[in-house]
Amino acid sequence: MKLLVDIAITLLRAKLKQSIVAAVGVMFSIAMFVTLLGFMNGLNDLLDGLILNRTPHIRLYNEVQPSPLQPIDLATDTASRNFISSVKPKDELPRLRNAIAIMDVLEKDPRVLAISPKLVAQALFNVGTVELNGVVNGIDVNDEIQYYRYSDYLVKGEPYALASGNNTIVLGKGLADLMKADIGDLVQVTTAAGDRTMLRVVGMFQSGIADFDKVQCYANIKTVQKLLARPGSYYTDINLKLHDLTQAPAMAKELAARFGVDAVDIQTANAQFETGSDVRNIISYAVGIVLLIVAGFGIYNILNMMIYEKLDAIAILKATGFSGGDVRRIFLLLSVIIGIVGGATGLLAGFGMQSLIDRIPFVTAALPTITTFPVDYSIKYYVIAVTFALATTWVAGWFPARKASQVDPVEIIRGK
């Protein structure tokens, strides 16, 4: 085998220019493949992250809705039917009952990474005579920072400021602009029940989704409980992060049934993002694979030409005792060597191009924390690229190699 490798390498060196052209073809396609997928997936992660970073894997809440079982349904009289129109929602608070007990149980669940209670309140901001709509999210700031990348989206102010101070608020950037409010200013908040409170602005928040930023605000959960005049056990949501995201749908169903609450999982809530990512992925893979196939045709052509030029060599190798299989292996090796060399340099070039893209400035108001184009350097794409490169060069080499192995030496030698 070593002898065959020697022969293959010598033949390649004799046709250095053509071999380099073939290898550059492979290199180029591999580099493009890696760059394209890295860039595309960087963008995917960025866009998904806009929503998904800030989204819990499972959200437990209590939807205020009409009771599915009306009192009259309990009647045992089967002879008559009842019709009820204009059924109203139950008169209840939009809170999670037994929130503390539920959290105690979840605390012990090994699938759960983090539990963050949340309290969402509708509010109005009074600016002069104008009232602006707002939603105040009472959060546990430490949890938000640790699990929901809260700090990434804070464009002004100190992330932990909410944790320490009472009666403080972080405004959405859009809302703050509307109110011309800055850090240190006081804003007046009116709850749905009509209670008014003054809150001090300690930060500004920009998620990148304009409509969201015009409405959403964050405050310490205790502050919001006080705002609504509710006790310390009053929560409207429990947000869960799981160790394994894929368990979310099944677990959401399980928790909903067990605790008698509503539960929504991340996959159901954000199905459209998955679809978008999948489509973009399919497109980039398709383009990458087409590039590789084109490179494969290049190798096929060059090897075919080489075989016609090397008919004498093939004939004499066979005459002196190299079998058809040996000849086939030599030409297959030629192709695979081109694939390995082109693939390896392609990976380096791909990494170089990824780093280049990673340095191109990309500034947009919608994405406060992004300064350059996003790139996903995942090793996965490198592995796929190399696997495909070797597979295509092997196939591209196989047909010419088989042809070479079938060369009849007598025909060549007698033809002279």
């Binding site: 010598t10 004499i316 002196t320 040996d326 007598v410």
Partner: protein, 226 residues
């Protein structure tokens, strides 16, 4: 059916079928003893080259029996035939067929490396020995396309000898050479037969050459006539 001969040929026939069926060999039988230097002569188209390529095992499309060193080759696999060629047969063609990508020395070594019975160093040593014996030792490290025609043919002979084959076959080995180089090649062949005890089977149309061999086989119209 071991006869102790290097080569036994029994009633070998061959026909080309394109465009019309032409019988080029008609029940040719011959034998080649060990250490015998035999030439085959005959007019163009008498089938002498066709016979040689059948004997070389490269052409397997024939009827009859071919026994090399006691081994029947009819029906043997292509891989086995390649092994037989590698080990037992050395070739010298009219054209040298050196691999121009390799050095002279490497060209000679290739069949030896393929046989892999000796280490690379031993094969290299043996190749140098052969090249020196053929008085082209000083050309060993040149590329194969940098030496003269007569030298190339001697390199081809060295290549044929590298595995100490039982039989050396030649197809017009002096056909492309001038008188002086032909003499040198003939001298080498004679020495191979007498000193190395190898059998030689050489197709030629050079009657002087043929006359000086141990035995001359004359062919005419696909038959051995003398």
């Amino acid at each position: 059916m071991s006869t102790g001969n290097a080569l036994d040929v029994l009633k070998v026939s061959k026909a080309f079928h394109d465009p019309v069926t032409v019988k080029v060999l008609k029940e040719v039988s011959l034998e080649l003893k060990r250490g015998e230097f035999v030439s085959i002569t005959g007019k163009s188209g008498c089938g002498k080259s066709t016979l040689l390529y059948i004997l070389s095992t490269m052409d397997t499309d024939y009827e009859g029996e071919l026994v090399i060193d006691g081994e029947r080759t009819k029906g043997a696999s292509h891989t086995r035939l390649a092994e037989i060629r590698n080990e037992k047969i050395g070739f010298v063609f009219q054209f040298h067929y050196l691999l121009t990508e390799f050095s002279v020395l490497h060209n000679v070594m290739l069949p030896g490396l393929k046989l892999a019975r000796k280490s690379k160093a031993e094969v290299e040593h043996r190749a140098m020995e052969l090249l020196r014996e053929l008085e082209i030792g000083d050309q060993a490290l040149k590329m194969a396309n940098q030496i003269s025609g007569g030298q190339k043919q001697r390199v081809a002979i060295a290549r044929a000898l590298i595995n100490d084959p039982l039989i050396i076959m030649g197809d017009e080995p002096t056909g492309n050479l001038d008188k002086r180089n032909s003499e040198i090649v003939f001298g080498i062949f004679q020495r191979i037969a007498s000193e190395h005890k190898r059998s030689l089977l050489v197709v030629t149309h050079d009657n002087d050459f043929a006359a000086r061999t141990d035995r001359n086989i004359v062919m005419d119209d696909g038959r051995v006539v003398g």
